[in-house]
């Protein structure tokens, strides 16, 4: 089977880049005999075309199309997102013309069926996983990274994109909440983030440093009131760091009982639970990118009608 994979988002600094790059690597490694993976955005001679992001979905795909939709937040909370014009509607129209839709959690699968004209049988849940490099680091490595980024000795951590103030991430509210331990925010920033009160910003960091920053944190605090998957939570667990998260169905699905859940409205309670978190953290889910890739190849096969 010849699969054309739209790899454009693979270098994106956000979660979408993590998904596309980890999946691309694992797809190459798990390709079966006769399976060919080609990177491109125009499936000329493909049996299946996969857009791992909504922006790659084609309105008139020349072959069966698979799209990965990471969440439907813009459909659920239209007033908070600016992309509501004709282009926005065309994108979702293109998504509806997919043979298969991959979503990261069962919660998102339900929402997709509710908000889009697509049959439940066409929606496949494939969990995301931790990038292999994100592992617990040795104390000297953690100390070196702490010096390099001027991090406090003991801190609570949040990881994610800080280029736009995404309301569902609730990071501005988190920064304003009184707390006992300093708060470190990791992720690419734009000027607004530098106006957040009393936080340490690192900007975007390489994976080795990210692993050390995770390892050195007291806990990851994750106050989102909506997520598609919540990848930083499993990354933290992979680095041995406890997770304190808002109690939303997606995170319950992904983490089970591996995290402390706090009512999303109670940010003070969330931060206090973070400060009280104890190591060792539970092990992360065993699901790997290799598992995700094998499941994705099966989706290609179903979409192509084989």
């Amino acid at each position: 089977m010849r699969v054309v994979f739209d790899s454009r988002p693979a270098l994106d600094p956000r979660g979408i880049g993590r998904y596309a790059s980890c999946l691309l690597t694992a797809l190459y490694e798990s390709a079966g005999p006769g399976d060919v993976l080609v990177q491109g955005r125009r499936p000329r001679r493909g049996d299946v075309y996969h857009a791992p992001w909504i922006d790659g979905a084609l309105l008139r795909p020349p072959c069966p199309q698979v799209v990965t939709l990471h969440d439907v937040v813009p459909l659920k909370r239209r007033s908070e997102y600016l992309r509501t014009g004709i282009r926005f509607r065309m994108r979702y129209l293109a998504v509806e013309r997919s043979a298969r839709l991959i979503v990261p959690t069962a919660v998102v699968a339900e929402e997709v069926v509710e908000h889009l004209r697509i049959e439940p049988e066409q929606v496949v849940v494939i969990h995301e996983a931790v990038a292999p490099r994100l592992t617990k680091r040795a104390p000297q490595e953690v100390a070196a990274v702490r010096r390099r980024y001027r991090l406090p000795e003991d801190y609570l951590l949040w990881v994610g994109g800080l280029e736009t103030p995404d309301p569902r991430k609730r990071i501005a509210a988190l920064a304003r909440t009184p707390r006992e331990l300093p708060l470190v925010l990791v992720g690419a920033t734009k000027p607004w983030a530098h106006e957040l009160p009393d936080v340490t910003l690192t900007g975007r960091v390489p994976d080795d440093d990210l692993a050390a920053i995770y390892t050195g944190a007291r806990a990851l605090v994750f106050p989102s009131d909506d997520e598609g998957f919540g990848l930083p939570t499993v990354e933290a667990l992979a680095c041995g760091t406890p997770v304190v998260a808002s109690d939303i169905p997606v995170l319950r699905e992904v983490l089970g009982d591996r995290a402390t859940f706090v009512d999303g409205a109670d940010l003070e309670g969330l931060l206090a639970a973070g400060a009280a978190a104890e190591r060792p953290a539970p092990a992360p889910p065993a699901w790997t990118w290799a598992d995700a890739a094998r499941a994705t190849w099966r989706v290609y096969s179903d979409a192509g009608g084989n």
């Binding site: 790899s7 270098l11 880049g17 790059s21 690597t25 190459y28 990177q39 292999p132 490099r133």
Partner: protein
Amino acid sequence: MCAVAHPGGAEIGLLRLARRLLARGHVMTLATPAAGPLDEAGLPVVRLALGGLERGAGARAAASFPRARRLAAAHDLVYLNGTVSGRLLPGLAGRRTILHVHDIVDRVPRFWSRADAVLADSGAVAERLPGLHAHVVFCPVELDVAPAPAPWAPDEPGRARRRPVVGFVGRIEPRKGPLDLVRAAPLIRASLPDVRIVLVGDDPYDSAPDYAAQVRESSDVEHIPWVADGAAVMRHLDVLVAPSRQEPFGTVLAEAMAAGTPVVATRVGGLAEVVADGVTGRLVTPGEPAELAAAVLEVLAARERMGAAARAHARQFGADAYADRVERILLEAAVARA
């Protein structure tokens, strides 16, 4: 003592050393198993069979023990270039010997400890030689390379500026990982549309025809057949990529840096010892196309700074510095009291 008649990396290094030792007044005889290009190196040559290169063929080297002993008696020191030559060690009791290990080995025969000194191409090689106190000497590269034109077609005329060139130089086989650069190529091009990505090399042993075909048939890169002087290619590149899955040293990296070309290499074996990560290039995880592409783009953006640092960093790998290091060890071994 050399185990092969046709020069590979280990033999090229030996010749670079021999040329300098000759100039410094040492007298040498080269032993090889058969006639070949090494005979033209300007050293007196004798024939000495060591059995084949395959494992298990070593027992046949015992037939050469008497001849090796006679040769050794006529010299102060026997330099065993590579582990296959090391098969002579049991027959050289009482003679001064140096064993030079070029590969990351899985198994250390007990008789290797009979060598008076052991040389290793990198810390990664030395790490696999427990108890032998191997000296890490690196591999020698010539710092002055005769300029030669680039082996690929020039940019189409009428361009305001030269297109950046990302290159791979080496054998087209899985261990060298060129397919990983092919897979990273669309990602690099997505950010830098006018980039040229050239792969220079062949699969001379035809060891993995399917793999080589995948690389050759890709339309994402330009494939150039093997060139005689890889070092001369380096100055035409803006970044050299070495995506190897395993590598004891990585001579291409040292050659590229000597030419002022920054590098992107995988974090495996000796490669991490040759590259100063973030200074002379970037180190990446093997088999991760997106990480490789991001590193290439990062190095291209810092090409001038990293290129200058690379040139300075590469001096330690120069053949003259190498000859100084090895000569000192040879002299110490030759005069050491047993």
